[in-house]
Symmetry: C2
Subunit: 181 residues, 2 copies
């Protein structure tokens, strides 16, 4: 056993109770998200906390795989209005994805459930979400994370696959070239 | 205090001891990375474990911000050779970034230090790394993560900024619209 259960126990949760997510928990989720590393520490992100029933209904209507009934959603967006535009434009997707993974792991650690629904780079989803949340053109929705109290349980897991690991050169498999116990 | 210290205590570490990273730890890092969520569960990733001194020297030569002296690096790559090419091409950067954040958090939890050095989408870095690691054209290096035993300590932190949070509509600030304790 290791101390990495905080990672292995995070699963995509798609069934939820009606219980609301406390404001304290929302703040912790956002603190965790903003603790992620970013290229040149530019932090090119913006978060939209969505708990208005009409806005949640908009998300359900817009997102083909985002019909989850939750009291809360957070849209993680890229903010391209920063000073170092060249860095931000190149790396905002990576930076905001790392922040999203932090948010998902934090939700799991707090006993909440969450699921990441992709938006960018699908133009019609970006436009519809931007319109619902009134985003300016320099703020691009990367995803919508639906969050609530879980009504399903899934076992921890890795998806470790030795075929996806090379050692120094692509054609050398890692597990065949080192001693594993 | 909360249980989220596994997130707040992760910092970018750039000074390292000479101590090697055990193979058991390398495997745990890869298990953690592959536990990340991916679009349609496509897992469009490939990992190159780099511990050959000549290859590490290549990385130092190629990467303008990647001069860290470590016994180990892992390059997280996108594998675009999958069946559902349309999904993978759209989402591999997000998927592999989430996997990278898992890897960084796992390193921290194991007492290791790590730093993420960006490669994609900078073409000249992609080409040089691909050449050194002999990557086929459908495998694209997203980054190089340098990993070792830390020779510096940094305090936990969030970079929480209420100016980066909206509430249902972009122009409504979250903290001004809810009660915070």
């Amino acid at each position: 056993m290791t101390d990495l259960d905080f990672i292995f126990s995070r699963r995509s949760i798609r069934r939820f109770t009606d219980e609301k997510v406390s404001e304290n928990h929302v703040k912790l989720l956002l603190e965790a998200a903003m603790a992620a590393p970013t290229a040149m520490n530019m932090r090119p992100w913006h978060f939209v906390v969505i708990d208005d029933p009409g806005k949640l209904a908009d998300l359900h209507r817009i997102l083909p795989f985002g019909k989850m009934q939750t009291p809360l959603a957070i849209s993680v967006c890229g903010n391209l209005g920063s000073a170092k535009k060249l860095v931000t434009e190149r790396f905002w997707v990576q930076d905001c994805s790392a922040a999203t993974e932090n948010l998902l792991l934090a939700a799991n650690a707090l006993g909440l459930g969450a699921v990441w629904c992709g938006v960018h780079p699908i133009n019609r989803l970006e436009s519809a979400i931007s319109s619902s949340l009134n985003l300016p053109s320099h703020v691009i929705p990367l995803n919508v994370v639906f969050i609530g109290h879980p009504a399903e349980k899934k076992p921890p897991r890795t998806q470790y696959d030795p075929a996806k690991i090379s050692h120094n050169l692509f054609e050398v498999r890692w597990e065949s070239s080192v001693d594993q116990d």
